[in-house]
Subunit: 470 residues, 2 copies
């Protein structure tokens, strides 16, 4: 897949529209529509999503409440890869594709803040083990057996699974793998067509590979960006310091598992992150299940970001994250599937688990996250955690066009009672009829575009057979 160069020009369509941004008091620039540019791939034509019954913009300036909700006949215009306008009666630009969204819901694409997509190779594996048993018997046992060509196959399948479930941005924490394998990994993500953050680690000695992989594979791709992933801990503090220094040099966030298992405390992970100067807003901590009250306060004071992975924490018996306490300290948090849930990327199940796990523990239906809070975590909240809220996470005009259309007319979702809650409590991946990434139509009427799913599955099974034989 060869993405054209993207211009980040902010486009707000006029076209006789009544943009609701204006109604809500946000300044809106009107200008004549430019001619539709020629596009190398018909899936990124100018697109009018027309007449939606409910739009969750995630931008309070655009609509009601914290989710910026708009109802009844709302149009969303996508042009040149951006959200061009949100409003009523926007009119159809010449040559535009029109998607009839009457009776449907529209929301921003999901951000999966933590995953290891290669772990589709060990789905269902070591299911009687906790984190450490699973790491030993599945994760570390299988990774060395995966050849570069098979890495492509596993990652490609998992990335497409995420995409069909509405994940338009995934942060993939990638283990230390060779340069060539990294190239295949990145190509699998790019071929799938979602936006991705490639968080890569190496030993301190091999850290030059991070610079090379970034330059050779990530920088050329408009939908890709990089982070430096690390193993925080006093036992590896030299490597941690070297990798942190590199992250500063490359202007990248760092990304670490922190206190996922109770035993992680003995390696003093937070002390190590603080000693090297990493404990700040450019740090994403995954899991953070076993934080003390003092560490929760510290996380908030330093504006460290956290990825909550409830389905993984349940599957791997890691525990229950103190998410309400983190929220009380205003810690920015998003949701991640992690690979340890083995891993289909059902964001609806993930949101439902995040809500339900805290409610069951605290016996309090008002505990954070509420339904609106978890919808925000799954979109704008995730984008904020990785410094991408200027580009994705809401339907604010000017942002990149990562957009979901949800069809509620199914046995598992209908009838309408409280649609916003039904997204979390009733939604399933097949409810997503359309998925746009950067304006590209990646899922159309329930089917991934340009993807031979049977072949992708077949290729992944071939790769799995190689691993079994190894």
């Amino acid at each position: 897949m060869n993405f054209p160069k993207i211009t980040r020009r902010r486009v707000l369509a006029g076209l006789g529209s009544v943009p609701l941004a204006a109604a809500a008091g946000t300044p809106v620039r009107h200008r004549p529509a430019p001619p539709a540019p020629p596009e190398p791939d018909g899936t990124r034509r100018t697109t009018l999503i027309r007449g939606a019954d409910l739009v969750l913009t995630m931008d309070p300036a655009l609509g009601d409440g914290t989710l910026g909700t708009l109802e009844d006949g709302v149009d969303v215009l996508l042009r040149e890869g951006t959200i061009a306008a949100v409003g009523r009666r926007l009119g159809v630009p010449p040559g535009a594709r029109v998607i009839d969204a009457r009776g449907k819901l529209v929301l921003p694409g999901f951000v999966d803040l933590h995953n290891h997509l290669w772990q589709s190779s060990i789905r269902g594996g070591c299911a009687d083990q906790d984190l450490n048993g699973w790491l030993s018997a599945c994760n570390r046992a299988v990774l060395p057996k995966i050849h570069p060509a098979d890495m492509y196959r596993f990652v490609h399948l998992a990335a497409l699974d995420a995409l069909q479930a509405g994940v338009t941005t995934v942060v993939d924490w990638v283990h230390a793998i060779p340069y060539d394998t990294s190239g295949r990994y990145v190509r699998a993500l790019d071929d799938a067509g979602l936006r991705f953050v490639y968080a890569m680690t190496q030993s301190g000695a091999d850290r030059h590979l991070i610079r090379e992989v970034k330059k050779d594979f990530i920088d050329p791709l408009p939908l890709a960006s990089a982070q430096v992933s690390v193993h925080a801990g006093m036992s590896d503090i030299k490597d941690l310091r070297q990798l942190h220094d590199l992250s500063r040099e490359l202007d990248l966030m760092i990304n670490s598992h922190v206190l996922e298992h109770r035993d992680d405390r003995k390696d003093e992970q937070i002390r190590a992150l603080r000693e090297v100067g990493a404990f700040g807003p450019r740090l994403l901590m995954n899991h953070a299940v076993h934080l003390t009250d003092d560490e929760i306060a510290l996380t908030g004071d330093h504006d460290v970001r956290v990825a909550h992975c409830p389905l993984s924490n349940m599957r791997l018996a890691s525990g229950i994250m103190p998410l309400p306490a983190l929220h009380h300290r205003r810690v920015r948090a998003g949701l991640g599937h992690d690979g340890g849930t083995n891993d289909t990327s059902d964001m609806f199940a993930l949101m439902k688990a995040a809500v339900g796990l805290q409610r069951a523990r605290h016996e309090d239906a008002g505990i954070h996250p509420t339904i609106p809070a978890v919808l925000r975590m799954a979109t704008l909240g995730g984008a904020e955690c990785i410094g991408m809220a200027d580009r994705v996470g809401s339907l604010t005009p000017g942002k990149r066009a990562d957009v979901l259309v949800l069809d509620p007319g199914t046995l598992n979702f209908a009838p309408r009672y409280d649609w916003t809650s039904q997204i979390v409590l009733n939604g399933q991946p097949p409810n997503l009829s359309h998925v746009f990434v950067d304006g590209w139509l990646r899922k159309d009427r329930g089917e991934l575009t340009g993807v031979d799913t049977a072949r992708v599955v077949h290729e992944a099974e071939r790769a799995a057979a190689h691993v079994r034989a190894a």
Copy 2:
């Protein structure tokens, strides 16, 4: 839908087969295949499910381990509504339909031990409320507004949703509704084509309605049976006693919510059940979240059955059931969706939640339920709880043919690593390609048979509009 009279004749097909029941030491009778009987509906032809890669029979006498697992080229023969044989190279009976199950998994249909299907009318409703708030603002507020014709529409949609998710037997705890509405309710269940247990309550004064509804609507239906549902508690002990006496007279189980919310203790529910003589193997207790250790022991000692509803308990902030302790006391338990999750009947999500909730709470990956245990709970365990294990819950020849075929060749499920665990951790309702109830093919290649889904959804939306207007 007019079901023909069912004969419970035990049919074990010979046909040159090598039934694995024989290999496993179970006596198998061989006899020539009878001619395929004429059938009023083509969906219950004699059917050979041929060549499955993995079959979980749930019968340790038929295969390996507690799940009775068979691998590689396993056939399952369905005839006259029963499991006729499980084995290899069974041969195709004359006129039989053949379903190519190569590369696929086969398991018994799921038993949903607790639901209120009418509550599809309040999906997503009162999502910021705990049990009592939700009961007041959604449940009790909406039920009186549902007209009989609309009751049909809500129940029909929810029953079909359950069916497409592999629920072949549902226990529906039905609130006190009028005779006519009951008739519509039962017809909606029957028209959907699943096996159901209609657990009905009335006030003590109106208890004659239970006898009448049973006689007029339930008894004529081969897939239907009845229970008496009650509100246990000392405040209503007179009604409880009358309903319990009626259950004895009609030879029916009784079915009650017990200690779902912490505040339920004040009505002394278990004391009431014991005082009227209901506390025994003919009692199904739903939720049972807030049992004391003594009550757990008592539940085991009296062989009382329990329905675990983790997704509901999470959504309604009810708490975490002491399922491991109940298991330790050998209490029979199954899984229920409940209506309080409102939700959709995704049995895969329910199994995953049951496993993960205990693991997260106890930080122990070996805690009950394990993956095999939860698969058993969702099938044979549920059947045992309601005294139906002689008919459903496993693929034991002679039992009714409630069977699922699962296609693992999808982005969310493939590739194969540990398929048994992948059912729980990766499965989604669309993975079920075929669903048989009593030998009737209810889902064929991913689509419900003979169902105009769009119309069902449209009708439910009409009903929802009536409720909103009321």
